[in-house]
Every structure is written in structure tokens, then in C-alpha cells.
């Protein structure tokens, strides 16, 4: 029984390739069925997002499992296996655990620390669970991986700071106004970045939107989209005082808001702060207004600077996450190792042998005057009972490993006979921790 993952991600394949290999949620059930009929695949989970398509399996053999994953992906997407293989990576056992933990804690993501992947993995696992495509090992692995992802986010700052311009703007706004609910944003000009930022602000509670645009029609359109109000562009300064946040991205060659305008705005606002985001090039707002009290002006370079600092911050935090993952992988591998049949049989034999030796010793002390031959007979009797009794279960358990879910027997055997020791380490250490 081997844990095996194969697939591709933004690290190994360009987007043209990834998009052809994405498995949509709607088709996931069908894909899982297709995966599970493959001979070496005992359990399976398919994680497919726009940045990765990965197949997690419990396979009877590693080479056969790799072949099955390759065949599955190429068959499913009608690719030539030889061509597809160039983009794939495979990890088995410890490496596979490590990989999944890195994925759920978003170390493997394009933007390190992003929050989406954890939800996507959860969803993929829920689907597989629903389809009964998983059993003990993958269930435990995915639950553990999801917990690791949560731990990484709660114990480090990996996901804390914004790493895109528009989120950085929202975050800065929240450092000025605690709660954006009830605040007003004004957008000057149009443009993707400006609109995206307004959208994020609205998602974060900003309740009213003012729109000013040189083209009144465009202003009306935008106002409609954000359920806001269009204001005349020529008199926009009169309306700036109403706004708590201003996003400016006009194509104007001169300052749209100059220092004098802002001075008037400030006295109108009676000490309330105003946050100006100037993402236009050339700039729309006179940079000197930042010197005015209660005015906070950020231009595109400032925002990029914030993003850059935040990215560096996340990279620093990623090192802490690696440490967390390392110890979690140890813990999980120890458990996985305990499911191996050979050490389990050895442990069972050892336990039986200890019992036999102890019992024989006890009875010998009571039976005085036995001849050496009689003593040997007693020893043989005890050994014979133990061996006969254990013979059948041991044969059966060896057979069971060739079946699907075979390790369920191994796990039960360990439970029934209370076999905790695995090569002296591993599980025992874990028990002590608890």
C-alpha cells in the first residue's frame, strides 16, 4: 500500500496546458469513477483548480500507480501520455504527505499565503468522501492536511498582509477607518484597477459610491453597477468632501485635485480623515496634499511599495510554516508506517512470545521435580499453542494486504492486541505526547 500523488501545477506547466487538464467540479464524480476502476488504485482524491490538477491515491505499487495516474489523466483529457508526462510530477509516501501539507498551507500556491486553496482542497476531499472514493488513509491524510493549513494560517502571519494593489488599498483603508460600513467611496475616471478596488471596498462594507467621469454616460454606467450616484466631473471637488475614500485613475495630464481644493475639502470635513488613492499615471492628485492634516495620499508606487513589503513578510513567515509542516509530516508518517504489515506481524509475534515465556517461567517455578525431558515438553506445548493460534490470523493478514482496504485489518489487529510499538519510535512517541 503506497501513498502516491501525481499531477501538474503552475510550477511545471504553463496556463495553456493547465486549462486543458482542469477537471470541473461538475465532472468530478465521473472522473473519480474513472480513476477508481484502475487496477492499482485503491483510494483516490482529485484536486483540480486553475493552478493545479493533482491525483492523490493509495496504490498497490508505486510504478503501477504512476502508470495508472498518467493513463487516467491522458485518457480523461485525450492527451498523448508521452507528451503529458513531461509536465507531471510524482511524489510517494513521505514526499506525498509533505506535498499535500505544502498545498493546504498555500506554500505551493502562486501567491504564497492565499486563502482559496484550503477551501478548494476541502471541497475536493468532500466530493471524494461523498463518492466513497476514500478510506482510512486518505481520510486521515486530508483531515490532517486541512488542519495543517488552518494551523499555518492561525500560528503565522502567512496570510495576513495584502499582496495585491487593490487589497493593499482596502487594508490601508481599514487602518484609517476601523469598519468600512457606512463609509463613502468616490471613483474618478475609469479603469480596471480602480473598479476592482471599488469592488473590494464595497465587498468590505462601503455603502455608498460616487462616480465622476468626463463621459457622463460612462459615469452613469459605473454608478449603476455599484448602485451609486454619478456626479458632474467639472464640479467634482465639491463632492470630494462627502467621500471618505477617493480612488482616482483619470487620463488627465494635469492634477484633477490640487492642494487648494484639498484644503477646502479638509475644512469642510471637520477633522475627519480622508484616504486618497491615486493610481493614475501621470498622477491626478497633487502629492503635496499628503502634508495636509488628516489627508492620507497613496499613489501607485506607494501601493506597490506596500505590496512588496508584504510579499517579503510572507516569505519570512513561509519559513515558520515549513517548520510546522516538518513536524506534522513526521507525525503522519509514523502513523502510516504503523499500518505496514511486516512490522505489525513482528510486533504480534514478539508480544505472543513474551507472554509464552512469562507463563512458562511461572509454571516451572510451581512444578518441582520435573525431569529435563518433561520440562521441554511443557515448553513445546506452550510454543505450539501460540504458533497454532497465530498461524491463521497471520496468513490471513498477509493475504488481506493485497485487497482494497487491507490495512483496515492491520489497524484492527494493532487495536485488538494493543500493539503500539513500531520499531521503537513513531507511534510510541506520539502516544507519549498525548
Amino acid at each position: 500500500m503506497y501513498l502516491l500523488v501525481g499531477g501538474l501545477s503552475h510550477k511545471t506547466a504553463p496556463v495553456e496546458i493547465r486549462e486543458t487538464l482542469e477537471i470541473s467540479l461538475m465532472k468530478l464524480d465521473e472522473a473519480l469513477n474513472d480513476l477508481l476502476v484502475r487496477p492499482s488504485v485503491k483510494e483516490g482524491v482529485i484536486v483540480s483548480t486553475c493552478n493545479r490538477t493533482e491525483i492523490y491515491t493509495i496504490a498497490s505499487e508505486v510504478p503501477a500507480g504512476k502508470e495508472d495516474i498518467l493513463q487516467f489523466l491522458s485518457h480523461y483529457h485525450e492527451w498523448d501520455p508521452g507528451e503529458l508526462a513531461k509536465y507531471l510530477y510524482f511524489y510517494d509516501n513521505r514526499e506525498a504527505i509533505n506535498h499535500l501539507f505544502k498545498v493546504t498551507s498555500s506554500l505551493d500556491s502562486m501567491v504564497v499565503g492565499e486563502a482559496q486553496i484550503l477551501g478548494q482542497v476541502k471541497e475536493a476531499y468532500a466530493h471524494a468522501l461523498d463518492r466513497k472514493a476514500t478510506s482510512i488513509i486518505l481520510n486521515r491524510l486530508f483531515n490532517h492536511a486541512i488542519a495543517v493549513g488552518k494551523k499555518a494560517r492561525s500560528q503565522t502571519s502567512i496570510g495576513e498582509s495584502a499582496v495585491s494593489i487593490s487589497y493593499a488599498a482596502v487594508e490601508l483603508a481599514k487602518q484609517i477607518f476601523e469598519d468600512l460600513t457606512g463609509h463613502t467611496v468616490m471613483i474618478l475616471g475609469a479603469g480596471e484597477m480602480g473598479e476592482l478596488t471599488v469592488q473590494h471596498l464595497v465587498d468590505n462594507g462601503v455603502s455608498s459610491v460616487l462616480v465622476a467621469n468626463r463621459t457622463p454616460k460612462r459615469a452613469e454606467e459605473l454608478a449603476k453597477r455599484f448602485k451609486g450616484r454619478a456626479v458632474p466631473f467639472d464640479h467634482l471637488v465639491d463632492y470630494v468632501a462627502e467621500a471618505d475614500i477617493v480612488i482616482s485613475s483619470t487620463a488627465a495630464q494635469e492634477y484633477v485635485i490640487n492642494r487648494k481644493d484639498m484644503g477646502r475639502v479638509i475644512s469642510k470635513r471637520r477633522g475627519k480623515p480622508i484616504f486618497l488613492i491615486d493610481i493614475a499615471v501621470p498622477r491626478d492628485i497633487d502629492p503635496r496634499v499628503n502634508k495636509l492634516e488628516n489627508v492620507f495620499l497613496y499613489d501607485i508606487d506607494d501601493l506597490e511599495g506596500v505590496v512588496k513589503t508584504n510579499v517579503a513578510e510572507r516569505e519570512k513567515e513561509a519559513r515558520k510554516v515549513h517548520t510546522i509542516i516538518h513536524s506534522e509530516v513526521d507525525e503522519f508518517s509514523a502513523w502510516l508506517h504503523s499500518l505496514d504489515v511486516t512490522p505489525t506481524i513482528a510486533a504480534l509475534r514478539k508480544k505472543a512470545d513474551e507472554i509464552r515465556a512469562a507463563e512458562v517461567e511461572k509454571i516451572m517455578n510451581k512444578l518441582n521435580g520435573l525431569s529435563e525431558r518433561e520440562k521441554n515438553l511443557v515448553r513445546t506445548l506452550a510454543g505450539g499453542i501460540i504458533n497454532k493460534l497465530l498461524h491463521q490470523p497471520i496468513v490471513k493478514i498477509k493475504e488481506s494486504t493485497r485487497q482494497k482496504d487491507g490495512y483496515v485489518y492491520v489497524e484492527s489487529l494493532r487495536q485488538l492486541f494493543d500493539l503500539q510499538e513500531v520499531d521503537g519510535v513513531g507511534l510510541k512517541r506520539k502516544k507519549n505526547q498525548k
Binding site: A168, Q175, E293, F296, G305, V306, T309
Partner: protein, 274 residues
């Protein structure tokens, strides 16, 4: 009983001091549970502190607050209480806790340095007017410490925002709007008590004008009066002229620094002089 009081005070000091390191750790490593633990340890310290004051009161037979030892302890008690009130309401003032815990720890050290055995109150301090005077001082110091601390945080945060630097530590501070509001609310709350301090102080001064200490009393009244005017200006400018943000924070902070200067430097110095 006095032994019990001292025992609890020692315990309080240990707790307050630990709280400082807990808050510090909370900011160097991101551990929310540590921050919470720190706040609860602070609360535990506040309770042992309360017990200490209660036992001191039983031992001396009157409300604590007369001797220097007692007044330092009482002032620290009010500050801690004020901070806890704000923290439990906002849950985001743990940075201020760093500042508060070290201030109250220093206060307790000061108290210990000026320790005096419990005794009957100075005859003068028996009057209810004087009791009111000292209680008001405690509440005022607490409210204005909260206001000053939050104004200080405002200025730090504002500098950070203007300087276009986003430091992770300061991102865990409350927003400018909240800090500004806390400062304002704390001053609104503290100002009537500050007024009461002056009124009761003046009445006392008039009663014993003939006694030799007039210069001390007079200078205290004048300096406190200036502080009072500062806070009056804060409130007036805020309400009438719409002052908020940086200028208001500077005013609140200077008021607080002035208060500390009077209570712990001017007053003791003048008392020694005479």
C-alpha cells in the same frame, strides 16, 4: 491583615510584570491565545490588587489613598481598571496593554519604595471633601492615561500611514478612527473628574489658606488649572472647530504628560522644598 495586603500586592506586581512580557511575546510571535492569556492575567492582577487595597483598608481603618504608598497603589489600580475596561470593549488595545502594564509596574515599585505602616489618616484627610478629592484624582489619572496612551498610538499609526510604511506590528493596532474616538471618549469621561479635583482642591486650599504651605498649594492649583485649560481646549476645539486627528492627539498627549509631570515631579519636589 497588613501582611495579607502586602502579600497580595507582591502577587499583583508579579502578575503585572508577567503581563508585560506576555504582551511583548504576543507581538513578536503571532499567538492570539497568548494575547488573551495576557489580558486575563492582567485581570487576575487587578483582582489581587483590589484584595490588597481592601486588606490595607481594614488594617488602617480607612479608605486607602492617604500616604504616598497608598496613593501610588490606588493610582495604579485605577489605571489598570481603565485599561481593562477599554480592552474588554474593543479587544484590540493589547498594544496599549504593553504600555499600561509597564506604567503600573513602575507605580507599584514606587509604592513599595515609599512604604509606610498602616496608620490613622492624617487628620486633614478625614473630611469627606478630601476623600472626594483623592478619588477624583484616581479616576482622572486613569481616564487621562487611557486617553494619552491612545493618543500616542494614534500619532504612531498616523506617522506610519503618512510615511507609507506598513509594519506588521502597527497593523495590529486599532485604526486611526477608533484611536481618535477612544481618546475623545476617555477625555469626556475624565474631564468632569478633573474639574472636581480642582474644585475640591480649591475649597481645601481656601480652608487652610493661613497655613504655611500656601506656595505649594497655590502652585499645584495653578499647574492643574493649566492642564484643565488644555483639556477644555481639546473639547472645545473638537466640538466647535471640528478638530480631530493629529492636532487633537498632540493636545491629548501633552495634557497627559503635563499631568504626570505635576503629579509625580512638581508635587513631590515642592513638598520637599517646604
Amino acid at each position: 491583615v497588613e501582611g495579607l495586603s502586602l502579600l497580595f500586592l507582591g502577587l499583583t506586581f508579579l502578575l503585572y510584570f508577567d503581563v508585560f512580557f506576555l504582551y511583548l511575546y504576543n507581538f513578536s510571535a503571532k499567538r492570539e491565545s497568548i494575547g488573551k492569556a495576557a489580558t486575563y492575567a492582567f485581570l487576575a492582577g487587578f483582582l489581587t490588587h483590589t484584595l490588597s487595597l481592601v486588606f490595607r483598608g481594614i488594617a488602617s481603618g480607612h479608605l486607602p489613598g492617604s500616604a504616598a504608598y497608598e496613593s501610588f497603589s490606588v493610582a495604579a489600580w485605577f489605571i489598570t481598571g481603565g485599561f481593562l475596561l477599554v480592552e474588554f470593549r474593543t479587544k484590540k488595545m493589547k498594544v496599549l496593554g504593553l504600555f499600561t502594564s509597564i506604567v503600573v509596574s513602575v507605580f507599584l515599585v514606587q509604592a513599595a519604595a515609599k512604604y509606610s505602616a498602616p496608620g490613622p489618616p492624617i487628620p486633614l484627610l478625614k473630611s469627606p471633601l478630601v476623600g472626594l478629592h483623592f478619588t477624583s484624582i484616581g479616576i482622572t489619572v486613569a481616564a487621562l492615561t487611557v486617553a494619552g496612551g491612545s493618543a500616542l498610538l494614534y500619532l504612531l499609526q498616523e506617522r506610519q500611514m503618512k510615511g507609507r510604511k506598513s509594519k506588521i506590528l502597527l497593523r495590529r493596532l486599532p485604526s486611526l478612527e477608533v484611536l481618535d474616538e477612544i481618546t475623545y471618549q476617555a477625555i469626556i469621561f475624565g474631564f468632569p473628574f478633573l474639574t472636581l479635583v480642582i474644585v475640591t482642591g480649591t475649597i481645601q486650599a481656601l480652608e487652610r489658606w493661613v497655613i504655611s504651605q500656601d506656595i505649594v498649594v497655590l502652585s499645584r492649583l495653578i499647574t492643574t488649572g493649566i492642564i484643565w485649560l488644555l483639556y477644555l481646549a481639546y473639547l472645545a476645539l473638537r466640538v466647535a472647530a471640528g478638530w480631530g486627528g493629529r492636532k487633537a492627539a498632540l493636545l491629548a498627549l501633552s495634557g497627559f504628560l503635563g499631568l504626570i509631570l505635576i503629579r509625580f515631579i512638581v508635587v513631590p519636589y515642592l513638598s520637599h522644598l517646604v
